[in-house]
């Protein structure tokens, strides 16, 4: 895994503490283009906190973030966006009172030459991309609170896809979804991967990890247990890492 040139993202020796609690303790992980890396661990293991340092929601206390080998500073979500990092949050960061188009373009509105937001243009673009991602989507005029979990998820994903993310962070993207919608997201991940995006996938479901990810990094109590190639290990190996913090024998970590 180390002979593929410069990683797309490298998180080196990241630490972050809240009060006296070390939520993330000297963790290093990396991600290559066209790769899906799963992040696993119990609730409170620190995986969401780690990834929020990359998405700009939190600031790391120490360590470095490298994008394409270049050191970057990510202080807020705007910095992350500037690096083409897009995040799909577990809690679906959508404004419930706005419609799909307003949410999709939130923070990056299309404007007319006079500098006013161009709602018609944004709706047209939204219709285009939703036609690709979720052809059954119809509720373009309604606030997103009127949408189902899957429809809301597709709005969140459309946002990441539309703006040509290179690095995609997905925090349990299928947690609130039914089987059909989960399948839709799985197919989408495969498609994005084929396009050369790097994807961090925070996931609880081991089956999804085995199916979707190339590598899996397991965290426990803020520390990295290890990173394994998914096709070299079994479900039980990964479970052992999550529960016992034990690295599987005979596997390069």
């Amino acid at each position: 895994m180390n002979n593929r040139g410069t990683p797309l993202v490298e998180l080196r020796d990241i630490s972050i503490a809240f009060g006296g609690v070390k939520a993330v303790d000297h963790v290093s992980i990396d991600l290559h283009p066209g790769e899906v890396v799963g992040l696993l661990g119990h609730n409170g293991a620190g995986k969401s906190t780690l990834i929020k340092c990359l998405s700009g929601a939190y600031q790391k206390d120490s360590g470095e973030i490298l994008i394409n080998g270049q050191r970057v500073e990510i202080r807020n979500p705007r910095d992350a966006r500037a690096q083409n990092i897009e995040t799909i949050y577990q809690t679906l960061a959508l404004a419930d009172n706005l419609d799909a188009a307003s949410n999709l373009f939130l923070g990056r509105e299309l404007v007319t030459p006079m500098g006013l937001v161009d709602d018609a243009q944004m709706e047209a673009e939204t219709r285009k991309i939703m036609g690709r991602l979720n052809p059954n989507f119809r509720k373009f005029k309604e606030p997103v609170k009127a949408l189902s979990g899957g429809q809301r998820q597709s709005v969140a994903i459309a946002r990441a896809v539309y703006f040509n993310a290179r690095i995609l962070i997905m925090d349990e993207p299928t947690a609130a979804l039914g089987p059909h919608e989960t399948q839709m997201v799985a197919e989408l991940i495969q498609e994005l991967k084929a396009q050369g995006l790097g994807i961090f996938l925070i996931e609880h479901d081991i089956h999804n990890v085995m199916k979707l990810c190339d590598r899996a990094s397991v965290m426990k109590n803020g520390q990295l247990v290890g990173t394994v190639n998914v096709n070299e290990v079994t479900d039980e190996d990964i479970l052992g890492m999550i529960i016992l913090g034990k690295k599987p024998e005979g596997v390069a970590c």
């Binding site: 404004a95 706005l98 509105e109 243009q121 005029k141 009127a146």
Partner: protein
């Protein structure tokens, strides 16, 4: 607005003919408020034997509403972002004190411009607007960057700013005011009939153009549009409303004593049988301008979009890269600016500055915004709703005074109406929410 009246039932593509209201795409809440307003007017008109709906009373009602209505438009943004501003009345008083001192003492005497100098009014107004904006920005900074709850910051401001104004003006009532400044108060500054009609026509054309543009934009992207008869109906209603209001203002005749005084000032004698009508008050024109600009800000600018997004989900807004702290400063600075503007209108209407100017305005302004459908939970509210809310409150108050309702009952009724209006709104949302 994107979040206005949920369009219920659109998901089922049935063969049913769309209802009249749906074809017109009218906000049913707006319709309800207009209905309530019309009812209030008719009831008072009957009780007062037709004195309520006279040109004179409508004129007075309008100029009394302007100050609160201007501030209510700003309060919509504040409440939409889940904040509150209890200091608007105090900021108004402080701005008014600054303007009073400027135009009565500082500019004409200390700086030697002399009474009646045409520079006095613009400098005074600038001073008032600046005072309001700066205080608002300070509020916003304390709330956005220092994370003190808006309720506390502005509750403190309620005590601080009115008394700063008191200190500044030595507690004196300041007057008489500059003659040009007084034009912004209402009765002293009207456009006359010809200019009012001209403006009415211009506004009508602008309204027609706006409706047509919206339709054209939809057609460009091949979105469904209203049937043409519905567009024409809306255009007709808009033009009738604009020209109707102008007609009412133009119907108000100036009293003979005032005409005599005006001619006497010019060294002339009032000709026999000469009459003149007031026309549109400048302060009302100011309110219309504020309403149009604020609506534009709410619906068609990034600032407006961010305000509503932040109100709907502050975390989502922050994660979408919106600088919500700076946004808070902007919202409160805008609120402060509008308080300064209201101070101009209020002071000019009362023709002096006194310490108690704008007392309890914070409650009127918040009530107007809330009656107008602004949800305290955030994310929902309209500019026209807040203005209509202010008009409804003022009509109730004026009407009751006219009928001779005892003072305690006036407040009891206004308070009850506020609670009742919010209850109705909750029921309305429940009902439409179920259909979604």
């Amino acid at each position: 607005m994107k979040n206005a009246a949920p369009q219920t039932g659109q998901t089922q593509i049935g063969q049913k003919k769309p209802s009249l209201l749906k074809s017109l795409e009218i906000d049913t809440r707006l319709l309800g408020m207009i209905g309530a307003f019309v009812l209030i007017c008719l009831v008072f008109n009957v009780i007062t034997d037709g004195r309520f709906l006279t040109a004179r009373n409508i004129f007075n009602l309008s100029i009394q509403t302007v100050s609160v209505a201007i501030m209510a438009t700003g309060m919509v943004f504040v409440i939409v972002t889940r904040h509150i501003d209890l200091s608007v009345g105090a900021i108004l008083a402080m701005s008014s004190a600054v303007m009073g001192v400027l135009q009565v003492q500082l500019l004409p005497h200390a700086l030697g411009l002399g009474i009646g100098n045409p520079l006095i009014a613009p400098i005074t107004i600038l001073g008032g607007l600046l005072t309001g904006t700066l205080i608002g920005a300070l509020n916003g900074w304390l709330i956005g960057y220092q994370r003190i709850p808006a309720f506390i910051v502005t509750l403190g401001g309620l005590l601080i700013w009115r008394n700063f104004g008191w200190y500044l003006s030595d507690g004196q009532t300041l007057g008489p005011l500059d003659a040009h400044f007084l034009l912004l108060g209402g009765i002293e500054g009207t456009l006359g009939t010809t200019l009012s009609w001209a403006l009415g026509v211009i506004f009508s054309i602008a309204a027609l153009w706006a409706i047509w543009q919206a339709r054209a934009a939809k057609m460009r992207h091949e979105f469904p549009v209203k049937p043409i008869w519905a567009e024409v109906t809306m255009m007709g209603v808009a033009v009738a409303a604009i020209l109707g209001l102008v007609a009412v203002f133009n119907a108000y005749e100036m009293p003979i004593g005032r005409l005599k005084r005006m001619f006497a000032e010019r060294g002339e004698v009032l000709p026999e049988g000469f009459t003149a009508n007031y026309g549109m008050p400048i302060s009302v024109l100011l309110l219309v301008t504020v309403a149009v600009v604020m609506t534009l800000v709410a619906r068609r600018t990034r600032l407006g979009r961010y305000i509503f997004a932040t109100g709907g989900n502050p975390d989502a807004a922050e994660l979408s890269g919106i600088n919500t702290r700076m946004l808070t400063v902007k919202i409160f600075a805008l609120m402060g600016f509008l308080c300064g503007l209201s101070a101009v209108v209020a002071q000019a209407r009362l023709s002096n500055h006194a310490n108690d100017i704008g007392t309890l305005d914070e409650l009127r302004v918040i009530a107007a915004a809330v009656i107008g459908g602004t949800a305290l939970a955030g994310g929902i509210g309209t500019i026209y709703g807040a203005i209509l809310g202010a008009i409804i409150m003022q009509s109730l108050q004026s009407g009751m005074a006219m009928v001779g309702v005892d003072a305690p009952f006036q407040n009891i009724i206004v308070g009850s109406v506020l609670v009742f209006a919010v209850w109705i709104d909750i029921q309305y949302r429940k009902r439409t929410g179920e259909k979604l």
